[in-house]
Structures are given as C-alpha cells and as structure tokens.
C-alpha cells in the first residue's frame, strides 16, 4: 500500500505533479535533516477503488532552497512555511514564508537541524500578526493567544469593516513544543507515551498510528482481540470528540439544556473509558504489537450502559437537529467549497461535510474495521457548519454501533491474546495511519536498531486549520464561534 520513489531536487516538483491523479491529495510534505543531508518528502494519498494507497516521493536537497510545490498545489504552502521555520530551507517561487510554528531570529540556527542540540534556542518576542485588509473603515480584532473561555492557545487576527469578516489571519507558534525532535531522545516504549501527548484528546489515535508504523515495519500481526479493543477505544474517543463539538456549538447558540446534556454524555463517555482501562483518555492502552491488557471491567456492564446512553443521546440529538434556533445559526455559515477543500487537502468530518468521500477506516482499511463491515458517513455537499454537524451526527451513531459490535466480539473471555511479541531489533522506514476523530492522521518513522532517527507526523487539524480562513465568505463576527467549533481543531497537533 506504500510506494517509495527517490528523485533529484530538480525533478521533485514535476514528479509530484505527474503522480497526482484526479483523486490524489498531498497528504504531507516533510523535511528531514539527517546526517547524510536534507531530505524533502512528499506524501501523496491516492483514493483508488476499492482501496487507496500512499506514495512517498523523496528528494535529497543540496541547496538551501527548492522549487515551491505550492505553485502547483496551494495546500503545500503551510508545509513549506513549517519547513522554513524549522530547518531554514526555503521554498522558492511563492509568497514570502511568514513564520507559522516557530519564529526564529535571523541569528539563530534553525531548531530542527541535526547539529543543534535540544537546548533552548532563545526567547521568542514577536510583534502581532500583520494586517492584510486595509482601507477606510477597516479595523482588526486581535483574538488570542489567550482567549476568552477555556481554549487552547492560538492567535487569530479578524479583519472586518463592521460586520463581515473580510480576512482571517492565523498563527500557532505559541504552542510549538518541538515534539518531533523530542521523539529522537526516547526509546520505543516511551515514544508511544509521547505520541499520546501530541494531541491529548486523540491519544488513542496517535498511539495507534505510531504503533501501526512500527508494526508495518516489522510485519507484526496484531491479535484479533487486541485489534477489536483498539477499535473500541478509538471509537469511544471519536464519540467524545464529536460530543465536545456538540457542546461548543450548543454553547455558542445559547442552547443551555442541550449544552448541559451533551456535557453530561461526554463526561459519561470519559468515565466509561476510564472503567475500561483506568484512564479517561485511553492512555496506556495501545502498545506496540497489541494492547497492554484486556478490559478492566465486565464487558456486559459497559454494553448495557452503552445501550441506555445511546437511547438517551439519540433523543437529544434528534431534538437538537429539529430545533430551529440552533439550525438557523449553522445553516449557510462557513461554507467551504469542495474545490477549496480538495485544494487544501482537508480531511475528516470537515472534508466529508464538503462532499469529499474519504474515510481511512474504509479507504485504507486497518485493524478490525474491515471485519466489522464499516461504511463511512455519507458526505454532504453543502460544505457549511450544518453539513459538518450532520456528518458528525451520523458518525457518532456509527461509532456507537461499531463499539457495541466489537465489545460483543471481545466478550469476557479472559484467555484472549492481547499482544504479540515484537521483534528484538527493529530497523527501517515505515508509515502508519488511522482515521482520528478529526480526520486522517499519518506517522512516518525511521528507526535504526531500535533507535528513533526521525518521527514525522501530520495531524488532521493541520490541514483543516489551513482551510479555516477560506471558509469565511461574507460570514459575520457572530458566526466565528460556530465555524471554528465545526472544524474541531486541536492546536497542539498543528503547532507540533
């Protein structure tokens, strides 16, 4: 399912363009400063029928610049900015590369080059985001990094001439933690723990994608019961994340009762996860080769709890999706057209709300999904906040039935095998992916005799946040909260 190509820097852009078919997407563009030189790696995702595939195009870059891919694929621009921020390698031929994840001083070495040890570079002190819209009556609203409410830090600059938002600036460097570099100092067992902390609310997705990469490298077969339990935790995580979006949307719309009730359901899901594994975020469950242990509680209890939760939750969802004062706020807000979504390589429920029919659980199936007969949510073509909400509603219902099916299959059999033994010495390059609650998540890992040389990842929110400013087409200030919530962004993953 993965093809590798090595090309020269001069050919790089042409090869990527030639390999991009009508159903292809630039899934990632990564830099890697190895002792042997700087590598540029483009990951292409092909949505072929019946199963999709990945293709990795690698070029060794001898210069300090390369031909900008974003000239051909606009979605590449954010990746190029990240590569310039972290490695100092410049994409030639496009807009100025404004800092996105790490604003360096010109005197500093780029933080990710292999010569630099992982010591603190220097204190960051940058001015606020630059204005783009100018003219009479235009003013700006700086929003963040510290914002009203309990949110992750992100800096927005909302430019408006009264009510309509004419331009939205975004910057995420405040939260940059240097996670990718940090992996290189850890052993494999610890690295799984760090993966769980890249996006703390999608811990299971991250640990699973990381372990998939290692398992693909070694050819490890994960026991069926372990695959099923991974699925249970992954789907409960998805339910919790979708409920979190419901909570934020209902809060924005002033639906106090709905807000309270979805808040209760979210808490109950987190508690259910804690009863299954001892952690509210499913941390420590997924390990290389399987899962750490079986369910920590009686599966039948969880099943009956899930049944009653589903009954209650469905009543509230049905009512919510018939409440005009809620739907009116969602309908027509934040329209992201299918073309723009494709151009930016948007993934997950946001893509499915814009008519892109892709879900890695079925298009590049992994784990237990194929066995349980999974079919993805039907895409909506409207591309507005309501469409994304409808996709999430459908996915939430699918997730509950998947969880139930998997739990029934797991049963209370204590004799199940939960983990297959891993190989003693691991070396190689491999890819691991999952459909996280926010969309496709990819890890690329390079290991030499159990030592991690490089971890590259692409979090779903990275693609989706890059498309967020494009979803504002004459939307007004009061739509902001709905549009942002409907993208369900995890900033820690974008900032890295």
């Amino acid at each position: 399912m993965i093809e590798f190509h090595n090309v020269s820097t001069a050919e790089f852009r042409e090869v990527v363009r030639d390999r991009m078919g009508s159903s292809s997407r630039l899934a990632a563009l990564w830099g890697f400063d190895s002792p042997g030189g700087f590598y540029l790696r483009a990951l292409l995702s092909h949505a072929n029928e019946p199963v999709g595939s990945y293709e990795l195009v690698t070029a060794l870059v001898h210069e300090i610049s390369y031909d900008a891919l974003s000239v051909l694929i606009p979605g590449a621009q954010w990746y190029e900015r990240v590569i310039y921020d972290l490695y100092g390698i410049r994409a030639e031929g496009n807009l100025p590369l404004k800092p996105l994840v790490f604003p360096r001083h010109s005197t500093d070495d780029p933080p990710m080059t292999h010569q630099v040890s992982s010591s603190v570079v220097s204190r960051i002190n940058v001015s606020s985001l630059q204005r783009k819209a100018v003219g009479e009556g235009v003013f700006t609203i700086p929003y963040g990094p510290v914002r009203s409410g309990v949110f992750e830090s992100i800096e927005y600059l909302v430019e408006t001439f009264g009510e309509d938002i004419s331009h939205l600036g975004v910057r995420v460097f405040h939260k940059h933690r240097g996670i990718e570099k940090r992996f290189e100092a850890l052993n494999l067992m610890e690295a799984v723990c760090l993966a769980e902390r890249v996006e703390g609310v999608a811990s299971v997705a991250h640990a699973t994608a990381f372990c998939h990469a290692i398992e693909n490298m070694t050819g490890t077969e994960v026991p069926e019961s372990a695959e099923l339990l991974r699925l249970v935790h992954a789907e409960l995580e998805r339910i919790a994340n979708h409920l979190d979006t419901f909570v934020r949307l209902t809060e924005g719309a002033g639906q106090a009762v709905a807000n309270a009730r979805f808040g209760i359901y979210k808490e109950e899901i987190l508690r259910m996860r804690a009863r299954l594994c001892g952690n509210r975020f499913g941390r420590g469950v997924v390990v290389i080769g399987g899962v750490s242990e079986g369910p920590q509680t009686n599966v039948d209890d969880i099943l009956s709890e899930l049944d009653s939760l589903e009954l209650e939750m469905n009543r509230d969802i049905d009512r919510l999706m018939r409440t005009p004062s809620f739907l009116d706020r969602l309908k027509g807000a934040g329209i992201l057209s299918r073309d723009l979504a494709r151009q930016q390589g948007v993934v997950g429920p946001v893509a499915r709300g814009s008519g892109i029919y892709e879900d890695q659980r079925s298009s590049k199936p992994y784990g237990a999904y194929a066995k349980l007969g999974f079919s993805p949510a039907s895409p909506r073509i409207e591309g507005d906040v309501l469409a994304r909400q409808q996709v999430r509603v459908e996915e939430l219902r699918t997730s509950i039935s998947l969880t139930r099916d998997a739990l029934i299959r797991i049963g209370n059999d204590k004799a199940s095998l939960w983990k297959s033994e891993s190989t003693e010495s691991i070396s190689g390059v491999s890819l691991g992916w999952v459909e996280a609650p926010q969309g496709e998540l990819v890890y690329m890992i390079e290991i030499e005799q159990n030592h991690i040389n490089k971890v590259s990842m692409r979090c779903p929110s990275f693609c989706n946040l890059s498309a967020l400013p494009l979803a504002f087409n004459g939307d007004i200030l009061t739509d902001f909260v709905f549009i942002e919530a409907s993208f369900s962004l995890i900033i820690s993953g974008v900032a890295g």
């Binding site: 992750e152 405040h174 902390r197 309270a260 808040g263 804690a274 952690n279």
Partner: protein, 262 residues
C-alpha cells in the same frame, strides 16, 4: 418547551463533593504510590526502576529506599507493571499540594513551620476571595486534554458555579490563574502579560505534570521545564492530565475551602 422537560428528566446528577466524598476515584488510575516495605530493595532493582521511568520521577533516598516525584510522574504505569511489589496505582483524587515537596512519595515530612508559613501566607492573601472566585485559564503549551478536564468543571456533573467558582473571560476580573502546559517559549510573554493584567491578590495554579516539571515533553528546544521556572506558582496539580476532581481540589485548596486534607 420540549427542552425544558428534557432538562428535568434525569433529576440531580451533580456530585456532592466537596461536602461529601465522591467515590468516582475508585475506577481511575489517578497517580502512582510507592509501597512501603520492611526490607529495602537491592541496588539492581533501584537502578532498574530509575532506568525504566521515562520522566526521571523515580529516585532513591539516602537510606536506600525508592521514592517517586508525582510532579514528574505521567502515570504511564511502567513501574507498576514491572515492579508491582514496589509501586501501585493510587485512586485518591485529592492530589493537589501547596508545595512541590509534598508531591514526593512516600511523603517527606516537611518541617511544620515551613508548611505553616506557606499555608498562612496563602491564607492571608486569599482572605478576600473566600466567598467567590473568578478564574482565568491560560494554556502555555498543553496537549489539549487539560482544557477538556478544566471545561468539564462547568458541566452539570461537577458544576463548580454552585461553589461560587466562575470562569472569567478577562484577566482583569480574575483572582486565580489556572495555567496548563509545559511552558513554551512562544507563550512566555503572553503568559507574563496575562498575569500582569490580573489584580492583586492573585493565585497561580499549575495544572498537570507538564506544567509542574515539563513531563515527557521537556527537554526540548522550545520549552521550559514547567511554568514554575518563571512564575510564582502557589498550587501544584499532578496528573497527566489531572481529573476534574483533582483540579477542583486545587481550586478549593487555593481559597482555603478544602476539607483540611493534606
């Protein structure tokens, strides 16, 4: 109207904590404790335990017994899995402490005067905050899960408004800064500005292992070892992430409303 009846269907779901204990903790691995033994572990075992811990939370005392710093522990459970005779999970949720030293397991007896001094200084400072406090949350490089757990305090199950605890949109109205995350270079000036904007008296709470000592994320070229390196932290909340009960305990501890535990 249909929502009104919907809102009444389940009766009261809110916890009675802190007035009564909530037994939710029983299902939850909140922290790691060191089991106290008559016999001391031998040197090899100690070396293995120290080596196993990904964040360096385990160390040995001068007397040759094991100790664990909850301020660095991310509750990965590696030690419990490999050395169950020396480590176990704790289900206690009231984990917040007003001094970093109190996070050491087994407890180090801090000199009574020292602890008394810390407590009375804090009590003096928060005397005017006893009835109601406003909180400003600041994310200084968290992984996103701390925000969920802090937000959970507002759902009907925890409903901290019943205790006079409110979240404030502006630092100007805030009494408590709830800071999560490892402390990134990029957030440093925003963090300082926000604290500067808060009126006196103010209390700073470090939420989560990352915020206390950097957790698994530090050392990195882009982070400090927790927010305590540059801020005067009053309350430390261990956990990765800490549960809502633990965060609530920290807030109650800050305003002198906890049940006198720890």
């Amino acid at each position: 109207m249909p929502w009104l009846s919907r809102g009444l269907t389940n009766g009261v779901v809110t916890t009675r904590y802190p007035r009564r204990n909530d037994d939710y903790g029983k299902t939850f691995k909140a922290a790691v404790s060191v089991r106290v033994h008559e016999t001391k572990p031998d040197h090899d075992v100690i070396a293995n335990c120290i080596d196993l811990c990904p964040t360096g939370a385990i160390s040995s005392t001068d007397q040759g017994s094991l100790q664990l710093d909850r301020g660095s522990c991310i509750v990965c459970g590696f030690c419990v899995q490999s050395f169950p005779e020396f480590f176990e999970f704790s289900h206690l949720l009231e984990l917040a402490a007003s001094s970093k030293k109190q996070l050491m397991m087994p407890y180090i007896e801090e000199s009574a005067e020292n602890l008394q001094a810390i407590r009375s200084e804090l009590a003096e400072r928060v005397r005017s905050l006893k009835r109601s406090v406003h909180i400003r949350h600041i994310d200084a490089g968290s992984d996103g899960s701390e925000e969920w757990e802090i937000n959970a305090l507002l759902n009907p199950i925890y409903d901290v408004n019943r205790l006079g605890i409110y979240f404030s949109a502006s630092p100007r109205h805030a009494d408590i800064a709830l800071v999560s995350g490892v402390g990134t270079l990029g957030m440093q000036s925003a963090l300082e500005d926000t604290l500067e904007a808060m009126p006196e008296p103010k209390v700073v709470i470090a939420v989560g292992t990352d915020a206390i000592a950097g957790g698994l994320v530090h050392p990195s070229y882009s982070t400090y070892a927790g927010i305590g390196t540059s801020l005067p932290v009053d309350i430390w909340v261990p956990g990765s992430p800490p549960s809502p009960f633990t965060i609530l305990h920290a807030i109650l501890l800050a305003i002198g409303k906890d049940n006198g535990t720890r």
